[in-house]
Amino acid sequence: MSELTDAWQAALASEHRAAFGYGLLGAHLHGSPQLALAIACSDAHEALRDATEEAITAAGLVPVAAAADYPDLYPVTAAAQAAALAVRVEDGCAAAWRFLYSVAAESAGVSATRLRGTAQTALTASAVRATKWRLVTNPSMATVAFPGL
């Protein structure tokens, strides 16, 4: 159970990081056509973060807290960097949820099965958001064959 719990907490940590990242990059998109996309993505990550915290708490565990800062997300000084950062945070979330999926796929039990469903949904959502941002940063390579890998 502990490896599954660790992977679940790591997925939550990736959502904390994404919520922070969108706050950081959104400030550089005012007046940009990508602002609405950034807001929608930020809302989605905050909702998933909150839902994941609640689920971890309901399982009798203490959800991992957000870090005070995420130095690896800096610097962001222009709209182009903001879009590239959005791709990075989405790829990070996809990797974390895919990892949770892989751990749950090796585990038995109702909770593992339920977590696989959650992880599939979150992996797909991050992959789709990453493609939306890649259409901004590099339209000729907007998809990856194995999201989260």
Binding site: E106, L123, V128, T143, V144, F146, G148
Partner: protein, 181 residues
């Protein structure tokens, strides 16, 4: 020649503690017994021969992986047809085509350990088959969405690495639907 041969024999000769030796004395004795039986009555000898241990038979590949591979090949053919008919959409369709080819290769690799060798008749479409109909963008998008759902269901029904591979393929196919919007 004799020096080299004797040196090679010395290198290959099992040490005093070696668990694996060449054909043992017992093997030769049993073999002789078979030869006598065959001489005495072919039927008995043949039955004896069949009782010898055989190499383990590889398990059949999981049906979900085979079905997923077939689905990828269908998508590859559809996207290739669209690519030929709509060169203006090459930028989008080429990415999708490349992703599906990567999926097919990964599925083939996942299937390979379970089979003696991949079935060559199953790989790309035979040249004699009729060309698939050219799907429009909306039809391709619907096919990608359906493929994403099916792959997610197959992932949920699988375990281990195969499940994770199918889960990732499902996510990719959802991005294709996004790209075709």
């Amino acid at each position: 020649v004799t020096d080299e041969a004797s040196e090679a024999n010395a290198q290959n000769a099992p040490g005093p503690n070696s668990a694996r030796r060449g054909p043992s004395r017992r093997t030769f004795l049993v073999g002789g017994g078979v030869a006598v039986l065959v001489g005495a009555g072919g039927g008995v000898g043949a039955a004896f021969a069949q009782s010898k241990p055989r190499p383990p038979v590889p398990p059949p590949p999981p049906a979900d992986l085979l079905a997923a591979l077939a689905a990828e090949r269908t998508l590859i053919a559809s996207v290739a047809a669209a690519l030929s008919a709509r060169p203006a959409s090459r930028a989008v369709l080429a990415q999708i085509h490349a992703d599906h080819e990567a999926h097919a290769r990964a599925l083939e690799a996942a299937i390979a350990p379970t089979t003696v060798r991949p079935d060559p008749a199953a790989s790309p479409l035979p040249s004699s088959s009729p060309p698939p109909p050219v799907p429009g963008t909306a039809a391709l998008r619907a096919a990608e969405t359906a493929a994403a759902h099916t792959a997610a269901s197959r992932a949920a029904a699988s375990t281990g690495r195969n499940a994770t591979l199918l889960a990732s393929i499902s996510a990719c196919e959802a991005t294709h639907a996004e790209l075709l919007t």
